[in-house]
């Protein structure tokens, strides 16, 4: 199974600022996914990141707010831009190792 790490593990940020979250996988994967888990809720898919192409976003999520980079087959970043308290969540990256799907440990973001 893929081993996934994320940085930072947690952060506290001021509203109006941006935070970039890194996701590193120990093997090459075609597709990486970013999810959000708001307090007390389940996971919601933000976007899919393929290496060499633009990320595709789910309904309700836009590139200006959540820009994503995918420079190679083992790494991706998600930026949370112009943050507000409503962005306080756990952000998780995941990879598919068909037919299984594995998740990173998450980044816990608190916006004040």
């Amino acid at each position: 199974s893929a081993v996934i790490s994320q940085k930072p593990s947690r952060d506290i940020c001021q509203r109006g600022t941006s935070l970039t979250i890194q996701c590193q996988v120990d093997s090459q994967v075609t597709m990486m996914f970013w999810y959000r888990q708001q307090p007390g809720q389940s996971l919601t898919l933000i976007a899919t990141a393929n290496q060499g192409s633009e990320a595709t976003y789910e309904s309700g999520f836009v590139i200006d707010k959540f820009p994503i980079s995918r420079p190679n087959l083992t790494f991706s970043t998600l930026t949370v831009s112009n943050m507000s308290p409503e962005d306080s969540s756990i952000y998780l990256c995941s990879v598919e190792d068909p037919p299984e799907q594995f998740f990173g440990p998450g980044t816990r973001l608190t916006v004040l």
Partner: protein, 111 residues
């Protein structure tokens, strides 16, 4: 619209008291169903993938089953370390990695 519904929302068990969690789904053309365990402050930990009705999978005290409309996660003789939130999820038709999750069942096992 595809939906994944889990019940109950929360479950409190005595150590050794077996029980079942339910995950019902309304998905056209189900390709598979995932079960995950999530501990507080951590990412989901993969448990099982089920592919077709009638399939069963086991891991230690956990057993997952699948019918055409729902899946069950049976916890046999649970221990306090089985306390966690259990999530089920189904993939979208176009990608195994694009998952729709249920809200989860929070399980607490007391000694």
């Amino acid at each position: 619209e595809d939906q994944v519904t889990q019940s109950p929302e929360a479950l409190r068990l005595q150590e050794g008291e077996s029980s079942s969690l339910n995950c019902s789904y309304t998905v056209s053309g189900l390709r598979g169903l995932f079960w995950y365990r999530q501990d507080p402050g951590k990412g989901p930990e993969f448990l099982f993938t089920l592919y077709s009705a009638g399939e069963e999978k086991e891991k230690e005290r956990l057993k997952a089953t699948l019918t055409k409309k729902e899946s069950f996660l049976h916890i046999t003789a649970p221990k306090p370390e089985d306390s966690a939130t259990y999530l089920c999820a189904v993939p979208t038709p176009d990608s195994w990695g694009k998952l729709q999750f249920g809200a989860g069942t929070q399980v607490v096992v007391t000694p």
